[in-house]
Amino acid sequence: MPHTDEQLLAYLDGQMEHEADYHAMEARLETDAALRERLQELVVSAEAVQLAYRAKLQEPVPARLIDAIWKAPWPAQTSQPPQPRRGDTSPQPANLWARVERWMALLVPGRMGAAALASVAWIAVGAVVATAVLREPGNYAGHTAEPDWTAAGSAVSDPALLTLLQGARSGAQVQLPRRELSVVASLQSPEGLWCREVTERSSGPELNEAHALLCQDPAGQWTVAHAVRQAITPNGYQTASSTAQADIDRFLRSSGEWRELTEQEEADLMRGTR
């Protein structure tokens, strides 16, 4: 009874056109035992189908797949990729990082949301390899100075930061020509959002360091929850750093119940499968 199945499926999948269609179906279900039985069969088979592919989603993406994507030619509309700097000892990460940024930059003029940006970062980086590559500090070519992103409440649009937030495990560090970004920890906010603590050492106009907590809303947008940026002098580095750290700790203590994410939760965060 394919025609009836069609209606039952639209009911199950929440794809009926009008609210009245749902009521009509429920009225039929109430009086028709065979229809209820069929609905049950369709539910059970849908669960079986979903279960049959669940493990596949959890598999790490093979390195060879990500590698092949990195090595592919540049998107047609772009100009020449930035050349690795002379004397660069890690050409592969340099190329990778430049590529990630290039991909993201391609999307920015289209005014796509951070979620879309992050999903492109995902294509280019992939959780597994991002962890492996970003953990190794290296030199990355092709990056220009970013405006300060640390205003509380502001949405993150900085591609490098987004990539790190979405694609790197805690402890990961990435060195760019004028700054160094690190993910310190992954946390759950009192509101239940998943957040990451990040530091940035920047040699912008002056040497400075930022400590920040950034949280991801359900739509995928990363927003600065709290941040401090302080100028540091070469001699006073330790002091400034620990002051900023203390400020973050104070914020965490005073704003409710925060907890650190488990490894699995952090992996889910990067995979986007919360």
Binding site: D5, E6, L42, V44, S45, A46, K56, P75, A116, R271
Partner: protein
């Protein structure tokens, strides 16, 4: 956030029912997407666009590589779930059995089933992805789901 690469792999795996071939397919599709990056319309769904490229790449380049004909006849379906097949199937895990059943579906039904039931796309998104009317999505889905429900229901769980 849509985690595209894992989902593309899963979709491809559902289409070809072979892990290695699925990754080859995803790789080819991603390279194709990069070549055609200027054709992507900002503001539309990136995942739908990518699913479509995977699907088209499969139809264009990969389908012919499969050892087994993918346009299964009803008789083959019956064989899969019939008495002859039961012993064989019972020795496999439930998940594998379901994947085998899905692999026996006609390919247009299989793509719709994977996009709606596994990937959670709406009928409209699926229609856009496969470039067919919503009514076609509904009828293909119903045929696929009917066959699966019949097959799974008949032999219990």
């Amino acid at each position: 956030m849509v985690a595209l690469l894992p989902r593309l792999r899963r979709f491809a795996y559902g289409l070809v029912n072979d892990g290695h071939l699925a990754d080859d397919l995803v790789q080819a599709a991603c390279l194709k997407a990069m070549e055609r990056w200027d054709q992507f319309e900002p503001g539309t769904s990136l995942s739908s666009w990518m699913f479509r490229i995977v699907q088209n790449t499969w139809l264009d380049d990969y389908r012919s590589r499969q050892r087994r004909p993918t346009d299964a006849l009803d008789e083959q379906m019956e064989f899969m779930v019939g008495d002859d097949g039961t012993t064989l199937l019972e020795s496999r895990s439930e998940a594998r059995r379901v994947r085998e059943l899905i692999a026996q579906l006609p390919e247009d039904q299989r793509a719709v089933l994977l996009l709606v039931t596994v990937e959670g796309l709406s009928y409209k998104q699926t229609a856009d992805t496969l470039n067919v009317p919503v009514g076609t999505v509904m009828s293909r889905l119903a045929r696929a789901r009917s066959r699966l429900a019949d097959a799974l229901g008949r032999h219990g769980r």
